[in-house]
Symmetry: C2
Subunit: 210 residues, 2 copies
């Protein structure tokens, strides 16, 4: 199975690497990181650079597309080359997926029109504006389109998708292999559970809004 992960300047590292850690363990999978230009693509924080050896125009098809999000997403969503590539590659996929604000790129390409989908909690209103039906959920499955909530949600989505692709046993082996038995130090990882003052302090700094 060919797995293609789209990168762009100022993507959020874990959006891409969480799913990579899970999906790359599918036997026979080939993972390719792609971007508009070859070279090192830097994350939002800037101190991590990921090598990209393949450009968009070199990839005409894939089995699974994954689009991460991050502060750079808004800029990337405005680039017609990227949006047109996403639309074209989607016509060849078995699965088209996103994590966090990567869903907005899919929506911009028209792929989520009228579909239930999710994204980072701070960007649900943008997803709606772009024609999707926003759902507050860890991840949302709509035919071949799987969208995950913010950043860390891509791990949960990828394990569930791996189970769908290759069966529960393999997904459970991967989950045990990466010892994914999470135990967050706080309960407030979602807007449903976070203290109001934490959300209020965080919200102005979010750059996910359009």
């Amino acid at each position: 199975m060919d797995i293609t992960i789209l990168l762009f300047d100022r993507f959020t590292a874990l959006d891409a690497i969480g799913p990579y850690e899970v999906l790359s363990r599918l036997p026979g999978a080939t993972v390719t990181f792609v971007a508009r230009t070859r070279g090192v693509v830097r994350t939002d924080v800037g101190s991590l650079g990921v090598e990209v050896a393949t450009t968009l125009d070199e990839v005409a098809r894939t089995d699974l597309l994954l689009v991460p999000g991050g502060p750079g997403e808004a800029q990337e969503r405005a680039v017609s080359e990227t949006v047109e590539w996403v639309r074209a590659i989607d016509a060849t996929t078995t699965w088209t997926t996103s994590v966090c604000t990567g869903a907005l790129v899919l929506a911009q390409a028209g792929l989520l029109a009228g579909r239930p989908a999710t994204t980072h909690w701070g960007a649900l209103h943008v997803l709606e504006r772009l024609g999707a039906v926003p759902v507050e959920s860890r991840y949302v499955e709509s035919d071949k389109y799987w969208t995950a909530a913010g950043v860390s949600a891509g791990i949960d989505m990828s394990l569930a998708l791996l189970a769908r692709i290759a069966g529960d046993d393999l997904a459970q082996m991967v989950q045990l292999g990466i010892e994914y038995d999470p135990d967050p130090p706080f309960v407030g990882g979602s807007t449903r559970s976070a203290p109001a003052h934490i959300r209020a302090a965080l919200e102005p700094g979010l750059r996910y809004a359009d």
Copy 2:
């Protein structure tokens, strides 16, 4: 705060990137990825390459050291340059930390002698042989030495460590920012909960044992 993450050939991506995603969001933090040689360092699966611009001999001190694990750890632990650098840099740190089998590198450097510590469940016996007191726990704190269990456990440890460094409010902001409200599709993410046949199928392929 200077945060230094040691990389080596065939490290496990999420071991390093989970903590990076959390700790890099500490205001004023500078994250540096270091390795013995400059260039692209590849993960265990091989399809992800991370840029390393800084070599070990260029880093004489840091505030927080993080050592990830992965199949390449056993080879790296046998390199005296690496082990001696870890021992020397540890003398300058406020926090010395590891994820997964990165703990074995710390143990090899003599830093965990007689200390409670943890690592990937498949490598606890190696940790014991190297002089630490193995503990089956999501993460273990022993003075300035914080060690996390396998792969994904680095996220939990880093959030707890961030709370210790900068207070609960910042850690909760980061947790909400990365929407860390995990919902694994299966319960078997630890050896305590995994079905016996899953563990039996996975164990022979683990390359963590020495």
